[in-house]
């Protein structure tokens, strides 16, 4: 082609494409420090027993949570080294490292991989278009994840989870759940919005969002765990509360001066209008904060304020 046509061709190409959005893939690689600027006490030291506030759970989930006895983690050895599920690990204790796996020949992205500090949970988000396994394939703690781009948002769909926590006070997320996540970068912040669709335990999908800040100097310790007998119990003992016998369920309402009905969760508790119908607390809130009054990181989250 004659060189005098090149500017015209190029200009036309730019004019034609300038109105069309062109999306580049985003690289989430790096070390990410979890920001516990929401629900710090729940995510760090852990949720109070009976706290189902704001979760769109159904009756099955509620009874499961009411029956839960945290002793099970020590009595039943098989619970001791369980990691958090791939979805809960993004909301709970979630210091994170992300890296990419690239095809060496084509330099195409094959997968994003993540490693979470707590129990070394690792996830793989396949970006190469592979399908999810059949329903009779094994399930894992991290589930099976595939990703696609919507603009510069990574949309991740995960199936094939083992049962794990929805909230780690006994509320369970089943192995039939499908989790959708939207990963975004905003400067040095990573934001992930997560939707859990669980036909077994949720009356409506559960949507939560978490944030991280880039921390290049962050180091993670290896996660070792070996189960060991801690409490002598007969083989096969499963600790639980019989229905109606769990006396700890009203603590959270009484400690924080909340209506007990609200602490039972359910989809209605998520909506603004619930404030008009939730009624008064059975026990008035304390005049000043008494529990976890300061809590933004593992270092400063104490039950009793030490100021």
């Amino acid at each position: 082609m004659s060189s005098r046509w090149i500017p015209c061709v190029l200009a036309c190409a730019v004019l034609l494409t300038a109105g069309m959005p062109a999306y580049a893939q985003v690289d989430f690689s790096g070390q990410w420090e979890s920001l516990y600027h929401e629900d710090g006490p729940e995510r760090l030291p852990g949720p109070e027993l009976g706290d189902y506030l704001g979760l769109p759970i159904n009756d099955a989930a509620r009874l499961r949570g009411d029956s839960y006895d945290a002793d099970r983690i020590s009595v039943v050895q098989e619970y001791q080294c369980r990691p958090h599920g791939g979805d809960y690990s993004m909301h709970g204790l979630s210091t994170l490292r992300v890296w990419r796996e690239m095809d060496p020949a084509t330099q195409k992205l094959i997968a994003f991989r993540t490693h979470t500090q707590f129990m070394g949970m690792e996830r793989t988000v396949w970006m190469d278009g592979r399908p999810h396994p059949p329903e009779y394939a094994a399930h894992t703690w991290s589930g099976f994840s595939t990703g696609r781009w919507e603009g510069n948002t990574l949309v991740v769909t995960t199936t094939h989870f083992k049962p794990n926590y929805m909230r780690r006070n006994g509320l369970s997320r089943s192995d039939h759940a499908v989790v959708t996540e939207w990963f975004r970068l905003h400067g040095n912040y990573l934001s992930v919005t997560q939707m859990v669709d669980d036909p077994v335990f949720l009356a409506e999908p559960l949507v939560r969002s978490s944030n991280w800040v880039r921390d290049p100097g962050q180091r993670m310790n290896p996660a070792f765990c070996e189960p060991a007998p801690e409490v002598p119990k007969e083989m096969g003992t499963v600790t639980h509360h019989l229905p109606g016998t769990n006396e700890f369920l009203t603590e959270v309402a009484d400690w924080y001066g909340l209506p007990r009905a609200a602490t039972r969760g359910g989809p209605q508790t998520m909506y603004p209008e619930y404030r008009k119908t939730m009624g008064k607390p059975e026990k008035a809130p304390p005049l000043t904060c008494e529990r976890f009054c300061v809590c933004t990181s593992l270092g400063d989250c104490q039950l009793r304020d030490r100021r």
């Binding site: 009756d59 099955a60 029956s67 619970y79 094994a138 399930h139 049962p163 499963v238 019989l242």
Partner: protein, 311 residues
Amino acid sequence: MSISRKWLIVPLACVVGLASSALAQQNQIDFARVEMHVLPVQGNVHMLVGAGGNVTVQVGKQGVLLVDTEYGPLVPKIMAEVRKLSSGPLRYIINTHVHGDHVGGNEELVKTTPVDNTQPLNIIAHENVLNRLTTPVTTRVTPPPQVGLPTTEYFLPEKDLFFNGEAIVLYHAPNAHTDGDSIVFFRRSDVISTGDLFTPERYPGIDLARGGNVAGIISALNRIIQIAIPEDKQEGGTYIIPGHGRLCEEADVVEYRDMVTIVRDRVQDGIRKGRTLEQIKASKPTLDYDTRYGPGDTFIENVYKSLTAKR
């Protein structure tokens, strides 16, 4: 009609009725539309998924071993998948228990397997499987064939064999799903076949008429958990092929064991308080599990009857 003949008619009608219902279940399946799927598990072991129970396939230099055989009409499809894995002769069938969706293919397999007088096809099961298959009064399955019955039975707590380079151990699980259940452990492949002792997508069936009991189910699940060893963070390591449902690991069995134990405890508590079966059902002891495993009434009833059975 004489009194003696009248008393014969009722039990005979029951036998025919029971046999018919089992036939009816099999007849409800359109076998032509069933697709078989093979999932490699670990080592020499694969899982075959179809319409009835899962089939475990172990292949190697010595030939093929199957754990359970689904339904007779599915044998051609089963063998078509097996032949993709091995052209070796079928040497062993192990039946985990007596039900038709686990022994139904025995007859067809025996008929279609070339006769080898030096090493005939060996069908292994606990002796109670043979007893149940050949006892017509209480059977609910298709009237037992004369071909495809177990040829090697065991009556001690364990039986073992060595095939395709690994030890295979059968553990009897007494009075569990039935009274003839076997847990099959492939030691080198590190895979366990459980038969219907473990069915992760539904409540356990407890065949009370054939000696099943919830105590045996719980004991068997605990045994499986004892045998299984996960690789890391309660994942990997020993794989478990259930009687029906997806491939599992120890943590999945723990979840299931917890469910059975907790429901048992709740029903037991109701019995202790003097409640009737209907009252216990009304208290919904499976409320937190029904959305996962299906309606719980039959399970509750079987647990109740297990716990109140005279010993």
